[in-house]
Every structure is written in C-alpha cells, then in structure tokens.
Symmetry: C2
Subunit: 237 residues, 2 copies
C-alpha cells in the first residue's frame, strides 16, 4: 500500500480527553507492529487526534521510516523500547507471531495497558475464516502470556484503507472494547472516542473477545460482496 | 459517556443493493419454536409486512394461542405440520434442544429453505458467553442434521422487545445473512428487506456463522452497560 499522501502536520487536532473520567493528555501510545497497514493507520489517526505516538517494529530503521512518513511528532523505535516508553500499548502484529512477540516483551509490558487488536484468521480458496486459539481468543492469549499487564481488546474492525486516507476526516465506526477492568476499558473507550467519527462501545469481558475478533472474516465477505470498506455501528446506544 | 450527538445511522445507509428478482409473494414462512419471544416477534413483523406465517410449537394449542394473539392471518400448528406446509422455515427454538428438534423434523424439512437464528450461549454469574458447538455453530449443526434441507443463518441480533412493540414502525437494524448458496441467501436477504427498517446484508458462508451467533453475548453486555436494546448496522454498505 502507498502512504505517500499523508497530510501535512498542520492538520493535527487536539486530543479530546474523555469528558467524565479519563485524562489521556499525558499518555504515550505505543503501537507494536506499527509498520503494518493497521498499525500505521491507527498511529496516523491517533497522532492526528493529538496523541503522542511511538511506532514499534522489529527494527528501529523501519519504525523510524514509518514514523517519519506520518510526521506529527510520531517517533519510531524497536518493539521493546516502544513498550517500555509507552503507557498504552496497542498490539497490531500479525496473528502468526502474536504469541512469540508478546512473550518476548513480557517484562517491558509489565503494568502497561495493552490493547490487543489482532484477528486470528485463516484464508483458503473460499475466503477468510475465524481461527479459535487454544486460549479462546488472541486477547486471552495475550492475557495468558502477559500476567503482569492489563490486557484489553479493541480496534478489530477498522479498514486500514480508510484509516490511511487523509481525505477522510472522520472514521465512521463503533469500536467494540472488551476487558475485565472497568478503569482500563474506560481508558480504551476514551482513546477510541478521541478519533473523529469513532465511538467506543463497551462490549463485554475478555472471554467474549473471540467472536469480536472472528467477525472480521464476515466483514471481509461483506467487503467482497458489496465492494465496501465495511465497519460496525451499534444501534440504540 | 454520552452518545447523544451521533448522526442517525440511517444517514450513512445507501440504497439496498439487493436482489429484486426474489418473489416472496407465494411463500409461506413457518417459525419453529414460534411461541418464544424471538419467534413471536419475528412472526409478528413478517405478518405485518404481508407475509403468510405459520407459528410452530410442540403443541398445536400453544401455537394457535400465539397465532391468535398476533392475528393478521397467522395460524398455529405443531412443528412437524409447520415444517411440512412452509416453503421457508425459521428456526427459533432454544439452543438446548436445537439438535433433537431438528433431527426429529428431518423429513418434513427436506428441500425446505431453513433459516437458523439460534445463538448458542451459556450464562453464569459473569453474564453470557458464547458456546462453540462441536459442528462449529448452531447453523452448521443444523446443516449436519438436515442434509436434504437448504440451511442458512440470519436474524440473530434482534431484540424481541422491539419486535413485539406495536408502537415501533421500523426495526432499525441490519440482518447478517450467511449461507453457501447464492440463491438461498438472496431469498433470506429479501425476507429481511421486507420488514421496515431491516436490511439484509450477506455476511459469508455458513462456516463463519459461529462468531455471528456468539456476538449476541456481546450485545447482552452492551445492553446491560447502556440500558439499550442494541442492534447492528454495517457501515459503507
């Protein structure tokens, strides 16, 4: 994917902290696997919303290159440094390698608020299908591998194409947020809310993450049938 | 958290790209387990939309009582007679008993278009959670038990409270439709489209039904947190 058409720094907005309980103004958000399409897209949107963002990658060079392309104060570091220096760590690594990457960062991620965005999917000639990890979901795998971190799950259903398109002002979608700690899910809800168009919606405990992750297989089918970049809205909320 | 300043979801909807070739005018729709809240609600909405509806139950008496309450030409029969006399059969039985009910109706359901709506859920002190049947999903269980039927899955995320409320003119939600036959899913899409406010959206093959069924556990969490009757909309479609 080309990402040469990012907007100038002047278009950045100020973060809007959660109106009631959460202050994000001093939080640093790290994005592990941040050089992939989802990671770059989320980094771009968070930086554009005024958040301080670190892109993490296996190699610092690649992270710095991705950060420089986004601009807006985003910096690039290796995954370990990204985890260490961040308050909130978004995991956008590929499912293949999810376990080994997280396991290798256990110390750096201790006490951090981790947001797992990963969708375990398989692909064959009939399209995408949901994979059920032994732990139940990618998020529960993260929780099992990171006993000293505060693991939540969110941002599963975003179109990287829309996230990266600077012409699109608002990402019109709801972000389902899962987790077992009210304080932590409130922070993730606030983070989703700070991106124009996005709205965080609390959608249950981590044990109900699998079907939220797997739903991406359905969105892929929808995208194929309707030539769309489908997202979700929850009605009556 | 305030969600009051969102634009109505309907503003983001485009024209329904749906098959205009499906003719439902001579179709009879049977609803197995039609005396439960979901079954009565769907029967009511389909009858109100002009469809010919038969409510099925284990006993004819209960089916007839539920049909009489709805009126609008709805009749009540036992499940076997309902299956036999219908072209399209919607399955709204409880998950506990899903397998034995369908197995007992294998002959009557042969060649019929079956729409499974069942959500395999468990409940404990922490709320609802998704159950994964050995076949993968309720819909795949139905397909395994009914080799001579045309099994699809849809209508998982509807609020019985909203369906049954006669003051509500339109049920504002998308209906995710799953199945492996294009002709059959087109018919189910058309059936969803005939209820005001509802829109059918093709969401993949039957092998991707589990996460759609299980998502009801998340909607239950959403309903608890936000005191809502949550439904789904798919954006950009």
């Amino acid at each position: 994917m080309s990402h040469t058409n990012l907007p100038p720094v002047s278009e950045t907005q100020t973060a809007q902290p959660h109106p009631e309980t959460v202050d994000l103004s001093n939080q640093v958000v790290g994005v592990l696997g941040g050089t992939g399409p989802q990671g770059r897209g989320l980094s771009y949107r968070l930086a554009r919303a005024g958040m301080r963002v670190i892109i993490g990658s296996r190699t610092t060079d690649r992270a710095q290159a991705a950060a420089a392309e986004i601009g807006m104060g985003v910096i690039g570091l290796d995954n370990a440094q990204t985890a260490k220096r961040s308050d909130i760590v978004i995991v956008t690594v590929p499912w293949d390698g999810h376990d080994t990457t997280l396991e290798s960062l256990r110390e750096e991620l201790a006490s951090k608020l981790v947001i797992d965005t990963v969708n375990p999917l398989g692909f064959d000639s009939k399209g995408a299908y949901a994979i059920r990890p032994p732990e139940g979901s990618a998020a529960e795998q993260a929780a099992a591998l990171l006993p000293d971190s505060r693991v939540t799950a969110a941002f599963h259903h975003l179109s990287a194409v829309l996230l990266m398109d600077p012409q699109i002002e608002a990402i019109e979608t709801d972000v389902l947020v899962l987790g077992d700690s009210r304080a932590d899910t409130d922070t993730v809800l606030a983070l989703a809310d700070c991106i124009p168009g996005m709205r965080g919606v609390f959608a249950g405990r981590l044990r109900n993450a699998h079907q939220v992750e797997g739903l991406v297989a359905n969105l892929i089918s929808i995208n194929r049938r309707y030539k769309a970049h489908a997202g979700l809205r929850i009605t009556d909320v």
